[in-house]
């Protein structure tokens, strides 16, 4: 077997050295009620070529973004990833190392994580950040959990523009007393509803920006209001590229920020692996979940980096830890930081503007299609349209024309009829004028 270095001869020598005859003797602690060497209803080994052909045949049955005119978003965005990103993350020393527990031989990982933490803090406008979470949704849940610990309060209020699956995750994991989280997905979220629900029992208010439908919000006023109850404002960012030309959550008064970082460096991957970013004000650092890298010096006074503040973590604090997270999104954070370093201020801002322009252009095209209405007043690179037919039917038909047209809101909220005809459409630097024309032409055919 190509991955197993031991030869039969090696195995026999090793058995000899141990002083046994058969490897099964090593399994003698297994009680007899448990069958050793059970029959498995699975095939035997395959050659590399066979595996490659088989999995390629599965891959070939998926319609991939690059082969289409592509408009999907709602928490997962297709951006162009520079080729050097993938080269770097495939470096053996990054790909095949573990969590940097031995800092003296992990300075590569530790330094890029330190840089990553700084980049994330700058983007979100916050003081500090950790070394990544699984994804945006779990980062959001962890942010809420942090807020609960910090405030010593249980109650959570979710804005109605939060991604439905994010709301689900919070509900599943943190809705301790089965309270209502006051969540009901709603297009025009002017936060009135939300303001009404806040009380001095509220641990935090969770707002996504731009929201699930693509609307952009200035949260400056809201944050003041939330703070007046001693509650925290948790801001969720699904599309970090928006941070190039929007006020940062920090500037608007956020206490904790959770982002999905997939947009930078990470491909769509059918939903995972992605990367959660988590930032906060510095006074909350000891309630942060997950790994954090800090700067220090070695015995000779030379600068170096280590995992730090680990008394927050499960391997030290066990049941008293801030979270149970252990493995995080290491390599995805590398991809993120490499992509962002390549962009830099200048490139990141251009990218952000280009995304926005792309969406504006698409909106101008769509405005001309009679029967389709754009619902958003504001948007970054994503907006919601109302169709004259069911959005689900629409995207299915569009897909037959090689167009992946958007995410029907009903995909996520099938039980809610009001969204039946709503479609969320995203647009990034990958979309060209040709894509827009294809969209318009096909849409007109389908709805007419």
């Amino acid at each position: 077997m190509r991955y197993l270095p031991l030869t039969e001869e090696n195995r026999n020598d090793m058995l000899d050295a141990i002083g046994i005859e058969k490897v099964d003797e090593l399994f003698s602690d297994v009680p007899s009620d448990i069958e050793l060497n059970p029959k498995l209803n699975l095939p035997n080994y395959k050659t590399e070529m066979e595996v490659e052909r088989y999995l390629s045949s599965l891959a070939d049955r998926n319609l991939f973004a690059d082969s289409t005119a592509f408009f999907l978003g709602t928490g997962a965005y297709k951006h162009h990833i520079p080729a050097s990103v993938d080269h770097i993350i495939q470096r053996s020393e990054f790909l095949t190392s573990y969590t940097p527990y031995q800092p003296e031989i992990s300075q590569g990982t530790l330094q890029y994580l330190f840089e990553f933490q700084t980049q994330v803090s700058l983007l979100t406008g916050m003081d500090i950040s950790n070394a990544s979470m699984y994804d945006g949704s779990t980062a959001t849940a962890e942010a809420v959990s942090m807020a609960q610990r910090i405030t010593g309060r249980d109650k959570i209020i979710l804005s109605n523009g939060l991604h439905p699956q994010y709301a689900s995750v919070i509900k599943t994991l943190l809705d301790k007393n089965n309270q209502s989280l006051g969540y009901s997905l709603n297009f025009s979220d002017n936060f009135e509803d939300l303001r009404e629900k806040i009380s001095d029992k509220t641990s935090c208010v969770v707002v996504q920006n731009p929201d699930f439908f693509g609307n952009c919000h200035d949260l400056t006023e809201l944050s003041k209001y939330v703070h007046s109850f001693g509650s925290l404002l948790v801001v969720v960012v699904n599309e970090v590229v928006s941070l190039g030309i929007m006020k940062s959550p920090g500037k608007m008064g956020a206490d904790i920020v959770a982002c999905e970082g997939q947009s930078l460096g990470n491909p769509l991957n059918f939903g995972g692996p992605y990367i959660g970013l988590l930032s906060s004000k510095k006074e909350f650092v000891r309630q942060m979940p997950g790994r954090i890298v800090g700067e220090t010096t070695d015995i000779k006074g030379k600068k170096g980096f280590v995992l730090t503040l680990s008394t927050r973590e499960q391997h030290i604090r066990r049941e008293k830890a801030t979270s149970n997270i252990c493995t995080n999104s290491g390599l995805c954070s590398l991809a993120f930081t490499v992509h962002l370093s390549l962009l830099g201020e200048k490139g990141f801002k251009s990218l952000s503007k280009l995304n926005h322009e792309s969406a504006i252009k698409l909106s101008k095209n769509i405005e001309k299609i009679s029967g389709i209405k754009i619902l958003n007043k504001t948007f970054f690179n994503e907006f919601t349209i109302s169709l004259p037919i069911e959005a689900k039917v629409f995207v299915e038909k569009m897909s037959h024309k090689g167009i992946l047209a958007g995410v029907p809101v009903s995909r996520l909220e099938p039980q809610n009829d009001q969204f039946k005809n709503y479609l969320v459409i995203a647009c990034t630097e990958i979309n060209s004028g040709q894509d827009f024309e294809r969209f318009s032409k096909a849409a007109e055919e389908i709805i007419s």
Partner: protein, 500 residues
């Protein structure tokens, strides 16, 4: 003029991105903008963020230099106990990058991603067959989230029976930190169970702690001492007789894969770390994937999403209001889990096949025992008898020296090895947990053994060299206390110390 950085031959110093990058530098080109009027509204802002950029040549050099300061499996043996640092086949990396897997959106029409759904369905079948369990949740993003998934299902099952009062979760003192942390996170009360002198769960202590509030036990098997819990059948019987559930931490599945079916141990839920047993790369800390298999009893409480084959089509049930998810405990994360890891893991499984996977566990266990028997004389085995895929030493062999486990580990670094896991599990003093995995050659293991012997010898004669180790590394031993006392967690033009 900046001061000179001092490199040494092939070892380059590398400054921070923030010290070498520039706000007007970029490694990405863009077309000209049109200059449309913005549509963002009052949250629009176009001010300096402060993120430096690098041209591509500079960026590649920055990260290549950093990479060269890392140890990796590819460069050397990495016997980090409990982490299963096996070789990561390159085929898997290649296949995970096929556009048909990497360039598809989680919410595109189900009709346009049948191959992806089939892949998830197929890896589910493999995992169920290998574990002998009847249901699976694929979405957990790592082992710890798998634990959450399993324990949530148990919580939900208890709730469905109106047994919310069952709040106690029994966890051995040798358990990995994620076990108690998970239970506590979900509001369970964590009760610690002692280990015996033989490194197994103390049955007496265990029984004594079961009462009416007993909800579940979280048992790792093989446990973190590298030993098979011989009483596992008895344990599961006791648990079930007392109305509780047996959660099994499957992080150590590499010792068993193909060799026994964990389902035969009477477990109710178990997570599997695809990034351990099934070779998806650790990537310096992640990403992982922690699918959870379930017994019949818990099957209906599985989280969303659920993928099923209906006729010759694959369907995905993702909305919790769906009739297939009525009893589901909810959702652990957005979308459908770690597709990128599934591709790699399935590629690994198909490559090995049933015969190869059995060989994996046999070789892993054989290698660990070979190390145990080779080093038993000079070091101190924590426990008698055969171990499974990892061997645990305590620090008795260092007793009459000035060398501590940490020093020993650091000295091993100087000899070209990544240290074993140290000070874990907590039940053994100055623990050294060695997991060679099945992908080390005998030559490599023999070299490791020779080095260990040499080092042990040196502990008597030259303890100073241990205290000063490592000395051949990019930095010397780092001051972790200082890092925690005066936390500098990000670069700033003027340094800040967080959280004073």
């Amino acid at each position: 003029m900046k001061e000179k950085i001092s490199h040494k031959g092939l070892d380059h110093e590398e400054m921070l991105l923030f010290e070498i990058g520039g706000l007007n530098k970029s490694g990405v080109d863009f077309p000209e903008l049109h200059g449309y009027e913005q549509r963002i509204g009052s949250s629009y802002e176009d001010q300096e963020i402060g993120i430096p950029g690098l041209s591509e040549p500079e960026a590649v050099r920055h990260y290549v230099r950093l990479s060269r300061k890392n140890y990796s499996i590819d460069a050397g043996m990495y016997p980090l106990g409990s982490c299963t640092m096996k070789h990561n086949p390159r085929l898997n990396e290649k296949l995970a990058r096929l556009k048909g897997f990497s360039d598809i959106h989680p919410l595109q029409p189900v009709s346009t991603c049948q191959g992806a759904l089939e892949l998830i369905h197929e890896i589910s079948l493999w995992l169920k067959e290998l574990t002998g369990m009847s249901a699976i949740a694929m979405s957990p993003k790592a082992g710890a989230q798998g634990e959450l998934c399993g324990m949530m299902a148990i919580k939900q099952a208890l709730k469905s029976k109106g047994q919310e009062s069952r709040k106690k979760v029994l966890v051995p003192d040798s358990a990995h930190g994620t076990n108690p942390a998970t239970a506590a996170f979900l509001g369970f009360e964590v009760i610690t169970i002692k280990s015996t002198v033989a490194g197994r769960l103390d049955l007496k202590d265990f029984k004594s702690k079961i009462d009416k509030e007993f909800a579940a036990a979280m048992i790792t098997n093989p446990n973190t001492c590298g030993l098979f819990e011989k009483d596992i059948i008895k344990i599961s019987e006791i648990i079930h007789q007392n109305g509780g559930y047996l959660y099994c931490d499957g992080a150590n599945f590499n010792a068993l894969v193909g060799k026994i079916k964990p389902g035969d141990m009477g477990i109710d839920a178990m997570h599997i770390n695809l990034h351990k047993t099934f070779s998806t790369p650790h990537g310096g800390g992640g990403p992982g994937s922690g699918p959870v298999v379930f017994s019949d009893k818990l099957a209906s409480f599985c989280p969303a999403p659920k993928i099923e084959k209906i006729g010759n089509k694959f369907e995905i049930f993702e909305d919790e209001s769906n009739e297939n998810l009525l009893e589901s405990f909810g959702r652990l994360n957005a979308f459908h889990g770690q597709m990128g890891m599934y591709v790699r893991a399935l590629s690994y499984m198909l490559s090995h096949g049933a015969d190869g996977l059995r060989q994996v566990s046999e070789d892993a266990v054989l290698s660990a025992n070979y190390i145990k028997s080779s080093l038993e004389d000079v070091m101190s085995s924590a426990y008698e008898g055969y171990c499974m895929h990892e061997v645990l030493f305590n620090d008795d062999f260092l007793k009459d020296t000035d060398v501590e486990t940490l020093d020993f580990a650091k000295a091993l670094i100087d000899k070209g090895y990544h240290p074993m896991t140290i000070y874990f599990p907590l039940v053994v003093h100055g623990a050294l947990l060695v997991e060679p995995t099945e992908t080390e050659s005998k030559f490599s293991i023999d070299q490791f053994i020779l080095t260990m012997k040499d080092l042990v010898n040196k502990t008597q004669s030259d303890s100073d060299s241990f205290k000063n180790a490592p000395k051949y590394t990019p930095v010397g031993r780092l001051n972790e206390t200082k890092a925690a006392r005066e936390p500098i967690l990000r670069w700033k033009k003027e340094k800040i110390i967080a959280a004073e």
